[in-house]
Amino acid sequence: MIGTHYVYWLLFALMMIGLYVVISHGNLLKKLIGLTLFQVGVFLFFISIGKVDGGSAPIVSDDVETYSHPLPQVLILTAIVVGVATLAVGLGLAVRIFETYGTVEEEDVLERDTTP
Amino acid sequence: MIVLDIASVVLLAAGALFVVSGGVGLLRFPDFYTRVHAAGITDSAGAGLILLGLLLRTPSWETGVRLLVIMLFLALTGPTASYVLAFAARRDGVPIWREGDPRR
């Protein structure tokens, strides 16, 4: 079990570190960094499922027999670019929140909203 | 062919030695400026020797060209980055270590 599943477990640990940062930390920018960590864990998980022992990159060549699966790679390739695009939107929102409230700490923002 | 193999092994070994010693230096040297020197060694000498060693083993000329391009890029960007970093650190007043100071 350990010999065959260690990759998945380490990647789950990575995802959970990201999830913890997203939930526990109050700073909006730190949350975005945590989201990136989580995201990378998911990306690596997808790619590791497509990997074959002794396989090679799915670029066809005469002297290669086994290839890893190309489909997860396609999905993740586009997801990475979409990920950075959403990161940019998140950062834009954080910057606007800072300009309006003078802080990017979640609790301070909430406090400002609830006290008239 | 055997000459090429031996030359390649020698170059790779020398490169690996430079890389590791630079890494140790990065960790052990007392201040930022000396560490720039250690990191510079791995970027220029270490990387250059390893890439040269690999160049002697290339199966095709296309791979060789790519290795040469990587060497060119590293030779341009590595020293520039070291220089700019040291320059900026000096301007920001990162202190210089002298004999007898504590490590930082």
């Binding site: 959970m16 930390h25 730190k30 939107v89 834009g92 | 700019v84």
Partner: protein, 329 residues
């Protein structure tokens, strides 16, 4: 223990250690720098796991773009995080442990890592993508053929998301978002660094040439529209960082960039519509030429170029929006 396993474990350990450190650092500039290191390690792992195209994208995006954006965002806000109070740690830790435990429990049903007879590998599509594609489309890089041809509609959707994100950032931070304050800050142009300027000026043509090479070589090796677009953007970012925003915006005026954002998307849609007009179905490139394989080549080239244009324009616009915000605030 094979060599592969050892390298894999070391890289994964480095990755988890970096993630832990990033999560504990309260100085956010440092955290952002370490996240650049994080994505370098990720890219290495992608190479190791045979995903060369993904490694290409991750390196360009993770190090070249998202680090720059994070640093730019931090420069506009606070770069120091408040201490996380204890009462907030518990819920996060509880959720993380519960979710992690569930995942580990569920992972017992996963096929062994690297096994060749897992459902993923045995699915009939695998054969289609790896072998049939050589006759259908005839390009060696199966990732490109799946991305641009077999799953062209999916990729169109992804491009639409990138487009929307670009528009959203423009709406949030662009010049229309709020009236520009006339007081300009002194732009710190790295002017003192002559070596840096000379070297960057020397590198610029190579970067753009390399981006074009990546775009057109995507059929045969790692590369394609997404990667090329991001490399173009990284080139412009470097130019803007070294020579100042004003100069960068003289080279690529904002209006041109704004026009290019929808242009790529429309080109992609246009290829699909032309296919329909020629009697095929949407994004069926066979119709573009009398020889289906040649049609596929042409279609993939057009679509990849369209992706490259939109991605490059969006990424550059986003960077300029953040940087301009700083200059005018």
């Amino acid at each position: 223990m094979t060599v592969f396993t050892l390298i894999n474990i070391s890289l994964l350990a480095i990755l988890v250690a970096t993630a832990l450190t990033v999560s504990r650092l309260r100085a956010l500039y440092e955290a952002a720098m370490l996240s650049a290191l994080f994505s370098l390690v990720t890219a290495c792992l992608f190479v190791l796991l045979d995903a060369v195209d993904v490694a290409f994208t991750e390196a360009a995006v993770g190090v070249g773009i998202s680090t720059v954006l994070l640093l730019g965002g931090l420069a506009l806000t606070r770069s120091r995080e408040a201490v996380t109070p204890r009462r907030r740690r518990l819920p996060g830790a509880a959720v993380a442990i519960l979710a992690g435990g569930t995942l580990v429990y569920a992972s017992q049903d996963l096929p062994a890592f690297g096994s060749a007879d897992s459902p993923v590998q045995r699915h009939p599509l695998t054969d289609t993508y790896l072998h049939q594609s050589q006759e259908d489309i005839g390009i060696p890089n199966t990732v490109t053929s799946v991305l641009a041809s077999y799953r062209g509609l999916d990729t169109l959707g992804e491009l639409l998301v990138v487009f929307t994100a670009g528009v959203a950032v423009l709406a949030l931070l662009g010049p229309l978002a709020h009236p520009v304050d006339a007081r300009r800050r002194d732009d710190l142009d790295l002017v003192d660094y002559r070596v840096l300027r000379v070297i960057s000026a020397m590198l610029m043509p190579f970067i753009l040439l390399f981006a074009l090479y990546v775009l057109f070589h995507g059929d045969f090796g790692p590369g394609g529209g997404f990667q090329a677009g991001v490399i173009f953007a990284a080139g412009f970012v470097l130019y803007g960082l070294v020579f100042g925003l004003d100069k960068a915006q003289q080279v690529v005026p904002r209006v041109v960039l704004w026009a290019l954002i929808p242009f790529g998307l429309l080109l992609y849609l246009g290829v699909g519509v032309v296919n329909m007009l020629l009697g095929g179905s949407f994004l069926d490139y066979d119709t573009l030429s009398s020889d289906p394989a040649a049609g596929q080549h042409l279609g993939i080239l057009l679509v990849e170029s369209a992706i490259g244009i939109t991605v490059a324009a969006v990424m550059t616009t986003v960077f300029f929006s953040f940087a301009n915000r700083r200059a005018t605030r």
